[in-house]
Symmetry: C2
């Protein structure tokens, strides 16, 4: 994992130089919170993801000497104080971080992650934290919907070729598995994150053979129960009949184009009549949660789905508008809660905690409170301290455990939030203490 | 640049094992072409990008020993022939590649890149080639529209925080610059790809100071002509008046929220009245080509734009549906042209060349021909041979040169294609030879 401190916006560095020039780079401690102002249309909840990678970035963050030398030559930093570059040479992230656990459903205005650090450090990391968490949260949130739509049938993530590069593909595979997908086709993601591998065959396998039946036979001969035969290179129904006519017994077939509902019924009938009742039918081809829900509602005999583009790009909400906002500053003496008041872009002041109020083992509502307010009765806190003095406070949670955590947390949401045919809203309110802090900050 | 050969879909490896088992992995040579079946809505042309990175991936591609050992343990490959894993240990890409030059406008069905190699090699690289070229082409294509809309005013790319991870952010910054953006805020991209750096200040700089005027003064004192003051933390107009009242003379200011047209006019008037006629006004805040065009059409006195989300995610077309399709197979003797006929997903057979027919120094139409057909009169070929035996045939073109190439090629397109308010189509036809090949393949 490269963790160059240059993976940041220029203005973070110019502001750091400014804090340094004013002598405030380490005497001023700041708290920033990362949150989403509003959920995108088509999302009734978000699934927090990317936090593990974000913490790794913070732990490894540093400037290499050639990077510092390069920065010192940039016109934009030509007037930075001389000592600034030595400061960068010795830079490491020494802050405290609180975050929700990966896989936790979160809502608008809820801090997913909170950084308290010397202001120059907290500022530098904004870009990397946002790029990491915005993207992976958007993929996990989309994948959760697709998994809900599949209603228990396995969903395999096949989207690497449409992801925003190979690194995005790896992160998307991980986020999709976290949110309930059953496996990935991306070998590198499977290896790195211990995700089950899934794969079938491509049209080129069929096209490069002398004929389709030969292509099927050769594959079946090698892969036996792992062979999934792709039917739609030329004609899906003809391919299904050829399988029967040639007495092949594949464990599964894949349909990748055309009317998947109608074709699955025809193929099922052909197979069942020939006694191939155990041959499963997988479907793929530009599927999203709505297409999957329609297929299932129509009674299509499909045993599992392959999804790609829609999940790895979160195609209907491809950019999550997460922001990283200053909420508290401590120069000396008591902290100042700060608040931005731009039109439509205001922020809530102060370090916060999210309390999820449980009623009958179901999430009833969330309260966003100031960090040091007393616990709301019957609720659990969502933000945990995960890093102190730049070091993680606990071992990384295995992804398979996080996936179970995610499924359990989604299952306890109000049922309306798990509908994919219409958006539902969840009750999130500021606490009395936070409401008072907002009023005071507005009045100031 | 990591180039793990595991950055591929599982089925590429199972098919490779299948080719290996049949003894066809190197005796069968295959040609695959990477192209887009149709342009997304809102795109009258695409700008090819990602090719340099794709070629680097091909040159560096190999399996590390622990990767091979891991693969050999996977159930999906448990029945691969024993020699297959030794084959992977010695694997390198030995193929020939033809590609259009980065920055070239391309259209539906036109091969952006063409690989001819032993079939197992050509198959393995599909996922990485698609992930790289699909994404970067979509960003370059969107950026070209934004640059057209800005009509000569500089457009800075600020989108790292909304990109699909930091690697996607770096690639997006490069693709945006290729397509005409003037700079990036992402320091690492600027360093790696020699892109001009751009940056201003964040709201947190203002919020962390005692007051806004102090924040502006401190920044101005350090950065002088590089200081761009951000006006909208609390109230844009009040901030502009404060600048005048306190006799500051910033070189530029940035507006980031609210009615950018109206605010720019008010701020311009305040500055001009105070003699600050040289202070430029930059605008940002969820801008895309349409918002920029509206601002300019309304006469808003804005000197430059910052764009983020819309460009780095190509937000209205976040997944480009590029495919990589087998078009020719050579086992022994003459090649077989192959063609997939799935409903709505057919392909054109044979190795191809694109001829761009020029009339009066303007691109009039393109002809897609079989590779060995004679040149169409008055046309230039777009595909160049860029790799032979797995080695590049020419040095990498500096990005700044590719950017000029791109601007020149876009400028010679029919003017309708450069409209951003409505889609226009360009005349692309198969040659006589290709038409005949399609007919023959359909008949076969």
């Amino acid at each position: 994992m490269p963790a160059s401190a240059l993976a940041t916006d220029l203005y973070q560095l110019t502001m750091m130089a400014g804090y340094f020039a004013a002598g405030r780079h380490h005497t001023t401690r700041a708290t920033f919170e990362l949150f989403v102002r509003r959920l995108p249309p088509g999302r009734s909840f978000l699934v927090a993801a990317g936090i593990e990678q974000a913490l790794s970035l913070l732990e490894l963050l540093h400037f290499e000497e050639p990077e510092v030398a390069w920065l010192a030559r940039q016109p934009a930093l030509a007037r930075a104080p001389a000592g600034f570059f030595d400061y960068l040479r010795g830079f490491w992230f020494s802050g405290e971080v609180w975050a929700v656990r990966e896989g936790t459903p979160v809502f608008a205005n809820e801090p997913i992650l909170r950084v308290t650090a010397p202001i120059a450090e907290a500022q530098l990391v904004e870009t990397a934290l946002l790029a990491t968490i915005n993207f992976q949260t958007s993929v996990a949130s989309k994948a959760a919907r697709v998994v809900i739509a599949a209603d228990g049938r396995p969903v395999m993530e096949f989207g690497a070729r449409r992801a925003h590069g190979l690194d995005a593909a790896r992160c998307a595979a991980r986020a999709a598995f976290l949110a309930g997908c059953a496996g990935t086709s991306l070998v590198e993601a499977a290896q790195r994150s211990s995700i089950p591998l899934a794969g079938t065959m491509a049209h080129s396998w069929v096209m490069s053979a002398v004929d389709e039946v030969t292509a099927f036979r050769e594959y079946d001969a090698i892969f036996a129960e792992h062979a999934v035969l792709l039917l739609d290179t030329y004609d899906t129904i003809a391919a299904a009949r050829a399988i029967v006519d040639h007495h092949m017994q594949p464990s599964a077939v894949r349909l990748d184009s055309g009317d998947l509902g109608g074709l699955s019924r025809e193929v099922r009938a052909i197979f069942d009549e020939a006694g191939l009742t155990g041959t499963r039918i997988f479907a793929s081809g530009d599927l999203d949660e709505h297409a999957i829900a329609r297929l299932i509602a129509s009674g299509a005999p499909i045993d599992g789905f392959g999804v790609g583009t829609s999940v790895v790009t979160s195609i209907d909400a491809p950019a999550l508008g997460g922001v990283y906002k200053l909420v508290e500053v401590v120069d000396d003496g008591p902290g100042r809660l700060v608040m931005k008041t731009s039109a439509g872009k205001g922020t809530w002041p102060g370090r916060k905690q999210i309390w999820r109020v449980m009623e009958n083992a179901r999430a009833a509502r969330d309260i966003i409170a100031l960090h040091d307010e007393p616990q709301t009765a019957g609720s659990r806190p969502l933000l945990e301290r995960v890093m102190v003095d730049g070091t993680r406070t606990s071992a990384l949670l295995p992804l398979a455990h996080a996936r179970v955590w995610c499924a359990e947390r989604i299952a306890e949401l109000p049922p309306d939030l798990r509908r994919i045919d219409r958006d539902a809203s969840y009750d999130v309110q500021p606490s009395r203490g936070l409401t008072e802090a907002i009023r005071m900050a507005q009045g100031s």
